[in-house]
């Protein structure tokens, strides 16, 4: 048995080696590579200039070291930056048995498993799997009628360059941080979404249904613009563990909400976290930021993070419009050797701006789970309000939980409140639930899911059910 496991592990690790194929660019990063990426993608001049400016900025920046995560140095010259076709595996049998078991427990159909695992011959996009092409097509028809643009980033560059030029980098400038600069220089593809004035998008937009070109996972770029009086709910990721041969992920997500617009952005992140000893696993360095540009606009982030070896991610809101609202709801579960440093920034600039932060961290095994959050009330933000609640639950004696909030207030009319607790599942609670006949694991799961309830209830319904299931699967064996 052990031999088989080792074999599978080897295979998995082999997956992290960039395959040598005819069509890919040499490894490493320089100006020529960026020009070549832009040329192959047929990009307009402005985008090439923008990429080069980002590259110049990136070269001068140091890699940030302040997060409470530890990883070996990344060799940025050893990465191939042009969308290399993914190395396929022959069949699901080659997959890490633990991931397979998880697929089974999550009840994911076989076909879909193949797509997620990147099996040779499987369809490229998940939407093709779901009951057919028709779902994708009817869905697109409907959106077109409403004037909603929802397409891959490349398509947006080709068909709506004026929108891309206007908004790209307007929330996360190229110099924002090291990983955002890297992404800006080399991003391969991603999603683009524009909701016109007065339109309430009638369905959850999901990356499931996106035309999903291969290789977009590593340096993905998402741009969502909600025009005045519009509404959109956007779902990213899925609960199934996603295997990816690229260890470094540096995505950027930019949201812009105009007057009275509301963007609800939900994420379930379950990238490969590495094996039980902490080998392998994705490094997820993501910059997500929303700009509440107009009055009464609202941006709401909800995330459930269970994957990745390292998570470095702070979905933030810049509350510029008066009366705008920013929200952040997060569940981060770490186990084995996972490290998560995640939280949010709420920057209050406008009057009567309000923000809410609810963060629930659960650390098990030898993992480290850090909440890091900034609430800044600028001097012009009259009557701003913030409420933050950050709770940590520690399972097991070797896990760590850190809570690192930063509160800055420069306006006296502000009310900023922060509360946090760190605890374990209490013996009393366990005893009570077990006395009713529930097994220890079940009892822990029920208590933990109760702990996360405030966050889950902000997820769209079917996503919430999946997230619950993911939580229960992730908790199995995490206790002790």
């Amino acid at each position: 048995m052990k031999e088989i496991l080792d074999k599978v592990q080897e295979d998995y690790e082999a997956g992290f080696v960039t395959p040598v194929e005819q069509d890919i660019l040499p490894k490493g990063l320089n100006e020529d590579i960026i020009r070549e990426i832009s040329r192959r993608k047929n990009e307009p001049e402005f985008l090439l200039k923008w990429r080069l400016a980002a590259y110049e900025a990136w070269k001068k920046m140091p890699e940030p070291k302040w997060a409470k995560v530890i990883y070996p140095p990344i060799d940025y010259q050893a990465i191939s930056y042009f969308a290399a076709p993914k190395k396929k595996i022959k069949s699901l049998d080659e997959l890490d048995p633990e991931i397979r078991a998880t697929f089974e427990r999550l009840g994911i159909p076989l076909k879909e498993q193949e797509v997620l695992a990147g099996v040779e011959g499987a369809p490229v996009a998940v939407d093709a799997v779901f009951d057919s092409v028709s779902v994708g097509t009817t869905f697109k028809e409907k959106l077109r009628e409403l004037g909603i643009i929802f397409c891959s980033f490349s398509e947006a560059v080709a068909n709506h360059p004026e929108l891309v030029e206007q908004y790209l980098g307007s929330v996360v400038p190229v110099r924002d941080n090291y990983f955002a600069a890297l992404n800006s220089a080399v991003f391969s593809d991603g999603s683009f979404c524009y909701i016109p004035k007065g339109v309430k998008c009638p369905m959850e937009l999901s990356t499931y249904f996106r035309i999903n070109a291969a290789g977009t996972g590593q340096f993905e770029r998402t741009l969502i613009i909600a025009d005045e009086d519009s509404y959109v709910s956007y779902l990213e990721g899925c609960t199934a563990p996603r295997r990816d041969e690229n260890q470094l992920h540096a995505a950027v997500v930019e949201l812009i909400a105009m007057k009275n617009a509301y963007i609800k952005y939900s994420t379930v992140q379950n990238w490969y976290p590495g094996d039980r000893e902490g080998r392998g696993g994705v490094y997820n360095f993501v910059t997500k930021r929303g700009l509440c540009k107009g009055e009464n606009s609202r941006i709401s982030w909800t995330q459930v993070e269970t994957g990745s070896a390292i998570t470095w991610k702070y979905p933030s809101c810049i509350l510029k419009g008066d009366n705008s609202i920013g929200e952040f709801y997060s569940v981060a579960l770490t186990r084995n050797y996972q490290q998560a440093d995640t939280g949010t920034k709420m920057i209050h600039l406008g009057k009567n701006t309000r923000s809410t932060i609810i963060s629930k961290g659960i650390s098990a095994g030898k993992s480290v789970n850090t909440y890091r959050g900034l609430v800044r009330i600028s001097s012009k933000a009259q009557q701003a309000r913030n409420f933050s609640r950050c709770d940590s639950l520690i399972l097991g004696s070797e896990a760590k939980a850190n809570t690192l909030p930063y509160l800055e207030v420069k306006n006296k009319s502000a009310v900023v409140e922060h509360e946090a607790t760190t605890s374990k599942v209490s013996e009393e609670q366990l005893y009570y639930l077990r006395q009713r006949g529930l097994g220890e694991e079940e009892a822990v799961y029920l208590i933990v899911s109760g702990f996360c309830k405030e966050v889950f209830r902000n997820l769209p319904m079917e996503f919430a059910v999946e997230a619950q299931k993911l939580l229960s699967v992730s908790l199995e064996g995490a206790i002790g």
Partner: protein, 250 residues
Amino acid sequence: MLTIQNLHVRIGEKEILRGIDLTVKAGEIHAIMGPNGSGKSTLSQVIAGREDLVVSQGSLVFEQENLLELSVEERARRGIFVAFQYPVAVPGLNNLQFMREAVNAQRRFRGEKELSSSDFLKKAQKVMHDLGIPQEFSKRSLNDGFSGGEKKKNEILQMYLLEPKLIILDEIDSGLDIDALQMVARSVNSFHNEKRAFLLVTHYQRLLHYIEPNYVHVLVDGKIVESGGKELAEKLEKHGYDIYKNQLSS
């Protein structure tokens, strides 16, 4: 149903129960009475299977099975139920969901089919209606923000849904006003039948006006010092526990 012989129980170094003998048959109601610190709660917890209690001597048998070899949940699945003196709150855990998980865990154990959400909901709604418990109980988090009386009613609701054989009511009357007490007592009495046994653990005999025991045992300093019928409770009401204390010290 339940046979306890020469049971000695320690918490850490301290011996709390010092040789308990007790036999409970199906259909019987036993009251365990005693002053604070006499070991009443320890007795109910050792039957339930609390893990920090150390049984140093004696035996505990429930329907021919040695309870000492079973974990808390294994005992619960065999039909032992404790209505807690201080039910614990679990914020965020929906009350109804919790009860369904518990009922289904027990059904799985008995090899019965699990109840679907809607079947369980119907059943729970009926029980709540019969007991006069407001339906909003099913929307709240388990015991979270419940008043003392509400928590006790929630315990009774769970008892009805789980349908246990041996029910231990640990100070069920503490913190209850007279109306709530009557409701609890009525519910217990109508739940009682020849197949079920009750163990009432209480400091005061007030409860015994409403639920009539077949036997009363007086527990002082970890020992049953006197057993008798319900008239014993009246004696206690008159004289208090001091008479036993004097007995013990002399």
